[in-house]
Assembly symmetry: C2
Homo-oligomer: 188 residues x 2
DNA sequence: CGCCGAGTTGAACTGAATCAAGAAACGTGG
DNA sequence: CCACGTTTCTTGATTCAGTTCAACTCGGCG
């Protein structure tokens, strides 16, 4: 759990009291490889911290679904859209490898927002951080070619390229596995 | 200024005291049509409320820049990435028509976060809202064809299509003006 | 050992980009 | 309020990156 406190501290210094309250709400849960932890149509009830593992966010499609995110250890994961709106999720989440999560329910998080000093500030900064990520991605999808997106990914998250099947990466940068295979050949 | 209070109230009920503090920081400013209010390289110092007008966010490019957002009256505008990080902005903002803004500086907003009860909560919910918008857009860019994006735009923001030159809309949905012109012909 | 999913490669096809030119709409100054 | 110049939109021809369909290879696992 210390990883979680460290992660939060990076955002905003959290007092012992607030941390105790926060951590009392966390529940640990383990998943095997290739387990679906949220299906289309379900409403996301959790904000989870990844202690260990890798997860994939995707919209299933016959013959190649659309993968639009990966989450690694020491970050938070959620179908955050669905979590925030409490409407059914448009996408699925699955584990790619054995994964350990610490989960917080929607209700508990709202209690934290109400009952701790730092809650809303952490929530704000976290939402801002997520906004920045999506904002960057929007620009990349609009202005970069798939090839450039692949090279950026390579530069910024080399571990991703090693650990994740090519077909998911292809989809993440917006092309088919065949096209990515050709790009790879071209640039190497 | 009442519009602003109403907008904030939609997010979270704001007390008179907090509102007075908040509104004391706002400064009104007017722009003419086609004025650049933030250039590439500048760091965004303002979060602004649009009392009236239309603005465009874009990355300039020789022969067709990349437009990735429009903002209308009664919402907030900012190069929010740059504002949050206080790093130089990657993009420009310009007015498309005569525009009136109420501006809040970065420092003042942080004072509001520190000195009002409701500040962080409003900030959080606002950032969450922005996240939801970007998240939706990411999915649309990945899974929809340009044609479908155009039709969605048409459905969701018909006023946008009437008020904004086609070439900006084309860029917003990720294609050239020529291609959009052809899509238009095809579907009508 | 044989199967199966992942990755590669080839060929044909397609939607959008690019280059280019003309038509329409817009606004600005006389 | 008209005339002219500029910008925006349309249309055509060509090119190109990526899709689709299909076959083949490779590596891991039952």
């Amino acid at each position: 759990m210390n990883q979680i406190r460290n992660s939060l501290n990076e955002i905003s210094n959290i007092s012992d009291a607030d941390w105790n309250y926060f951590s009392s709400k966390l529940k640990k849960i383990e998943f095997n490889k290739k387990e679906t932890i949220l299906s289309n149509g379900q409403t996301e009830n959790y904000l989870s911290f990844v202690e260990n593992g890798i997860l994939r966010l995707y919209i299933p499609k016959v013959d190649n679904d659309i993968t639009f995110g990966f989450v690694f250890k020491n970050s938070f994961i959620s179908a955050y859209d669905s979590f925030l709106t409490q409407l059914p999720s448009e996408y699925y989440i699955e584990t790619l490898v054995k994964t350990t999560l610490w989960r917080l329910t929607f209700d508990d998080l709202n209690k934290i927002y109400r009952n701790t000093k730092i809650g809303n500030e952490i929530g704000r900064k976290n939402a801002e951080k997520l906004f920045l990520i999506k904002s960057k991605r929007e620009l990349s999808l609009l202005k970069d070619t798939p090839e450039k997106r692949y090279l950026n990914l390579f530069k910024e998250r080399p571990q991703l390229i090693k650990q994740i099947p090519l077909k998911y990466i292809a989809s993440y940068i917006g092309i088919t596995p065949q096209a990515l295979s050709r790009i790879r050949r071209r640039i190497s």
